[in-house]
Amino acid sequence: MSERLGEPTAAEKAAQDAVRALGQPRADAAFRTRLRHEFTTGRFGRRVPADRPRPWWALKRVMVPVAVAASALVVAGVALNRGPDWRLVSAAGEGRIVVDGATFSAGDAALAARLRHGGHVKVEGAVTLDLAAPRIAAVTLAPDAEIQLSSTPGRWWARGMRAEVASGDAYFTTGRGFHGAHLDVSTPEVSVRAVGTSFAVLRDPVGATCVCVMEGRVRVGEAGAGPASAVEVPAGMRRIVQPGYGAETKPILDESVHRLHRQRDLTGAMLVR
């Protein structure tokens, strides 16, 4: 479009004339009368959208109680959804237990409270630590094990539970209330998904991980690999993964079976198996 500012062309003049010849639209009589009354009295009808009567659900006296009730429901839902806390079943042996940087002796009464929601747990010395969440799961940490343990699965949502074994041996057994939840255990080498079983995850200092399955089935995959590459390990077998040396499946070790049986004997009543 040109930026010409000179005289308009004849056609443009005709367009100008057409606009200038436009008539004066008049508002209808009812509108004129109503607006005149509003203008002279200063009492304008509530016509603009912002001034329209608010729908019943947007009224403050409705919205505030609804918001409070909704908040209370959310808080109650979150509270009720929480799974049971971890309980300290036993801490036997000489040594220390470090929970999120705080150090406890095996007989320390404060240890149980500190372990309720999981956390970073390191067992130093010859201590064996047994934890259980009623009906949900039991975890046993052998001497020198180090693990990051999540809180237990929610009752209705957030049904996952995680454990990261940094080093040492950890034993897991799930209970009746675990149904529908899943347990993901990882080490730097492997990731394990279980949906109800007894198994051990043993990580040795040279960086190999052995997953020993006494009951049920678990899927074991290399850390960082997709779930499609995971291998299912049946009961009575173990899967050893060592980066650079591949992976192999062998019969379960007697030592693992022994320790898992011990765990079940110790926590079976709590897990209602």
Partner: protein, 218 residues
Amino acid sequence: MRDPVSPSHPPDSSVAGTESLPPGPAGGLRAGTPAPDRAWLERVRVREPEALGQFYDRYLDLVFGLAWRLLGDRTLAEDAASEVFLKVHRAADRLDPARDPAPWLATITTNVCRDVWRSGQYRMSRRAADVHDPAAAASLSSGRNDPEADTLSSERERLVQEALLALPEPLRASIVLHDYQGLDHREVAEVLHIAHDAARKRYSRALAALELRLRGRV
């Protein structure tokens, strides 16, 4: 931010400005409209009901007509006129009795229409727009008792209004304010909050675009 209801026009921004202006409708800004009485505007300032009624009678057509030409819809124009008079009532004490309030009203009306253009309601109404409003056509009839002439006039009105509504809003405002409302370019610049040169250039573009849309139709 400039106050949309502040009377900001200069004292010399009278209707018959420095540029040639067409004859206009009653109550508008166009040449021939007598300057309002200062004492009367003082009474409007203090919201004296009788003065407000006279003010309304004098300027409703200006406001409604401008809104109609800018929005192309009777209901929207009524809403806009209501909004304008609400703003005027609220800001009456800021009215300068030394100046003709017509350019001030044109500014408020244009600002209100600009808000309407930005609204979802306007976009919806544009989709379903029917420029031919029988009520409007009736109100625009010449009163000559010549049905054929009235029909032709109404059809011409419709075509011109259609062409105006087809223009982008800034161009439409430029044409309507200058050619329909009778403001000179300086006043249009003030109403649209743009520079004088920009107002002239915009008008030039708008006129070319309008001519293109009207070519061979009127």
